[in-house]
């Protein structure tokens, strides 16, 4: 039987997890896609062979394949408002039953308009020191739940009107307490009405659901963001409030007594959306390789492009404890750009003179970030990007992607069983 697969991005995001998940679901008998981190700020672009496009944020990127379900696990931060809009767009591109194929763990945290307003007000207040937040309130949702676990709204609360209204009112009050002159937010009643509609419409399940789902057929665990943005391993403070490695998915699998193949996704060149260290950034590439689905966002900032970074890749692979196979995307772009390079090492200043590093040292998070901001890349010719990645990862390249649709992806090696 086809194994379960966990799909994780080994860079700063935007490697092409969505299109890889779409490929897996279009060609294998996948029962469901499970989201295990992040929230509505994910943006996984999928283009169908007949030219339809959808940016998957909360629905699994396999949704274009009829019958593939989406399950939002308890690690997911669910935004009911954005979910409704996403479902409406899916309907407009020929997928009318996305909500029917959705389940949500009743324990999943909810992102509200008040979290979003807090997020934006806080990021605005940072001025030039912005973290590159997406402005969707996901980090605020995580922070609030840590600070006030009993007051953080969860999916189950959308079935208890009185409790829901109370929790929403607390959040609204907190927002106005912190930002008295903050931008207006919707009234609690209006927000509650929409959340209650979500509670009525979307099927909620408890922890017994996922083990059953895993027994019903192969499941793809779709990660959000990238390992280099991980809350613990990313380059502080330019991180996302989310565990972006395989860890959450493996927790869910082990609870169910199951396991999965660990698939790392990598672009043939590097990208980063928003501020933060990016050693191989190349303004010429940023200008030459704009991303069709990633413009400059009002909250994240610019989309930046650079060269394949072996040092960062090594770091990412270590951070997530290795992997079983790789999927390398954008090989078509690499084939057209003979000027693409691979960064084999960094040099950075040290008291005793410039240091040459191929592996990042264990340093306090802020110190590491400070070094990276001063690091210079040491380049070699790119050669075959997939082979370089496979060598570093010590894992085979299972999938090579030469274009946007699932049909542009070639199986280079069968997925090893996890």
């Amino acid at each position: 039987m086809t194994p379960h697969v966990i799909v994780v991005d080994l860079g700063f995001g935007d490697a092409g997890k969505g299109t890889v998940v779409d490929r897996l679901c279009a060609t294998e008998p996948v029962a469901a896609v499970v989201r295990f981190n992040g929230g509505a700020q994910a943006a996984h672009n999928v283009v169908t062979p007949d030219g339809r496009h959808h940016t998957f944020a909360q629905f699994g990127s396999g949704t274009f394949t009829p019958g593939v379900r989406t399950h939002l696990s308890r690690f997911m931060l669910v935004d009911p408002l954005a979910l409704a809009a996403e479902a409406a767009h899916l309907a407009s591109v020929g997928v009318p039953d996305a909500l029917d194929r959705l389940t949500v763990d009743a324990a999943a945290l909810l992102t509200t308009p008040y979290h979003r307003a807090l997020n934006r007000a806080r990021e605005t207040a940072r001025g030039a020191g912005r973290h590159g937040s997406c402005g969707m309130g996901v980090g605020e949702t995580a922070a609030y739940a840590l600070a006030r676990p009993d007051d953080a709204p969860r999916a189950a609360d959308c079935r208890s009107p009185a409790r829901l209204r109370r929790l929403l009112a607390l959040l609204r009050d907190r927002y106005y307490a912190e930002f008295p002159g903050g931008a207006p937010v919707p009234p609690v009643e209006d927000c509650a009405a929409a959340f209650l509609a979500f509670g009525t419409r979307v099927r909620q399940v408890d922890s017994s659901f996922l083990p059953e789902l895993l027994r019903s057929g192969p499941v793809v665990f779709e990660g959000a963001q990238g390992v280099l943005l991980d809350e613990n391993h990313g380059f502080d403070p330019y991180t996302t409030w989310s565990t972006t490695t395989f860890a959450n998915a493996e927790t869910l699998l082990s609870e169910a007594g199951a396991d999965a193949v660990r698939l790392g996704v990598l672009r043939a060149y590097a990208t980063r959306h928003g501020p933060g260290p990016f050693v191989t950034e190349d303004p010429a590439l940023t200008a030459a390789l704009p991303d069709p689905h990633n413009g400059t966002g009002p909250w994240q900032g610019v989309f930046r492009v650079g060269h394949l970074d072996e040092v960062a890749l090594r770091y990412a692979i270590d951070a997530c404890g290795g992997m079983d196979a790789l999927a390398v995307t954008h090989l078509d772009v690499a084939a057209r750009r003979p000027d693409l390079l691979r960064c084999t090492a960094y040099t950075w200043p040290a008291p005793s003179g410039p240091e040459h590093v191929t592996r990042l040292p264990a340093l306090p998070a802020r110190e590491l970030t400070a070094r990276l901001l001063r690091a210079r890349p040491v380049y070699a010719a790119l050669g075959d990007a997939a082979e370089a990645a496979a060598e570093i990862a010590g894992a085979p390249v299972a999938l090579r992607s030469h274009g946007p649709t699932w049909q542009d992806k070639q199986v280079a090696a069968p997925l090893p069983h996890g």
């Binding site: 994910a42 969707m136 009643e189 209006d190 927000c191 009405a193 419409r201 943005l229 009002p298 994240q300």
Partner: protein, 324 residues
């Protein structure tokens, strides 16, 4: 990463979830119901109230009553769809701080199953629920009259508004229809439909004057409706309400018309500013609303708005006309 791609509007979300269930916004009516929903039944209702609260200290009552017979059934459906837009305009553009909106429906007390349906004044999405429970009548009697006078009687005698009682400020009442009223509020019908006793029938002019103590009253005639081009229709309402009869050549633009009328009435905007707001919202209703309100807008400069209702001074203004 990061999309910010999907709209996170609360009203759209609620509507999307509802629509995605396959249920009609008028689930009650469309499910084959044959009588007034209990929550909209005026029988035995003493008062529908628009009261200030901690959340809404500066309430302003807005009543919207429409004819639900025959061809007019499309109006409530358009209203339902555009309700978020109406609220959005009123609130976000600052026309009104705390609108309380009541929806109701007018039929024919001589023959309809649901001659009068009256919701509550609501400040939130519950008004949506009231709309959803309205029974949309099919036919229409053919006598070119509906019981608007009965609805007006209810609004005059069975509503209480804090905006008026506490601040001396009238609310707004919109009737939307394409027929005449009956000339008298009949005591027999009041007893049957509302459950109160009237000593005698009351002429509609008197009822309108009572309503106008509490509300700025407008009658909206959607063009293309059954009797729109009948001269008698225009004369009838114009004699009673003067410039407050609005001719709307796009029935889909009812929401926008109401919003801008309130904006004009509140002196929050002039017509040009309101039309800009519509364009900003991506509404295509601008031209229709512009034509409907041009006359009202033009007369605003000349009309002195006093707290004394138009028509109470003998001979002052069209509402005093009693020609029938």
């Amino acid at each position: 990463m990061g999309s910010g791609h999907w709209s996170t509007d609360v009203y759209t979300a609620a509507e999307n979830y509802r629509r995605s269930t396959g249920a009609s916004a008028f689930a009650y009516s469309d499910s084959g119901a044959a009588r007034t929903h209990p929550s909209l039944d005026p029988k035995g209702v003493v008062l529908r109230e628009s009261r200030d609260s901690d959340d809404h200290p500066d309430s302003l009552a807005i009543g919207v009553l429409f004819d639900v017979t025959g061809s007019m059934g499309a109006v409530p459906r358009a209203l339902q769809q555009k309700l978020p837009g109406l609220l959005g305009l009123l609130l976000r553009k600052g026309y009104v701080t705390d609108p309380h909106i009541l929806f109701g429906a007018v039929g024919d007390a001589t023959c309809d199953r649901a001659p009068l349906q009256i919701g509550q004044f609501e400040a939130d999405n519950r008004m949506d629920d009231d709309l959803g429970r309205i029974l949309l009548e099919g036919g229409g009697g053919g006598q070119m009259r509906e019981s608007y006078e009965l609805a007006l009687h209810f609004m005059a005698r069975h509503t209480a508004l804090d905006c008026f009682e506490k601040r001396g400020k009238r609310g707004y009442l919109f009737l939307i229809g394409d027929e005449l009223a009956y000339p008298q509020v009949k005591a027999r019908e009041v007893s049957k439909v509302i459950g109160t006793r009237l000593g005698a029938d009351v002429p509609i002019e008197e009822t309108i004057r009572e309503v106008q103590r509490l509300y700025d009253l407008y009658f909206i005639i959607p063009e293309g409706a059954f009797h729109t081009n009948d001269r008698r229709l225009r004369d009838f309402w114009q004699d009673l309400l003067g410039q407050n009869v609005l001719y709307l050549d796009d029935p889909e633009a009812v929401c926008e018309t109401i919003a801008l009328t309130v904006g004009l009435g509140e002196d929050a905007i002039d017509l040009a500013a309101g039309l800009d707001h519509l364009a900003e919202q991506g509404s295509a209703a601008g031209p229709a609303v512009s034509r409907a309100l041009a006359r009202l807008d033009a007369s605003r400069g000349a009309v002195v708005r006093s707290s004394a209702p138009a028509g109470l001074d003998p001979g002052a203004g069209p509402a005093a006309t009693t020609r029938l």
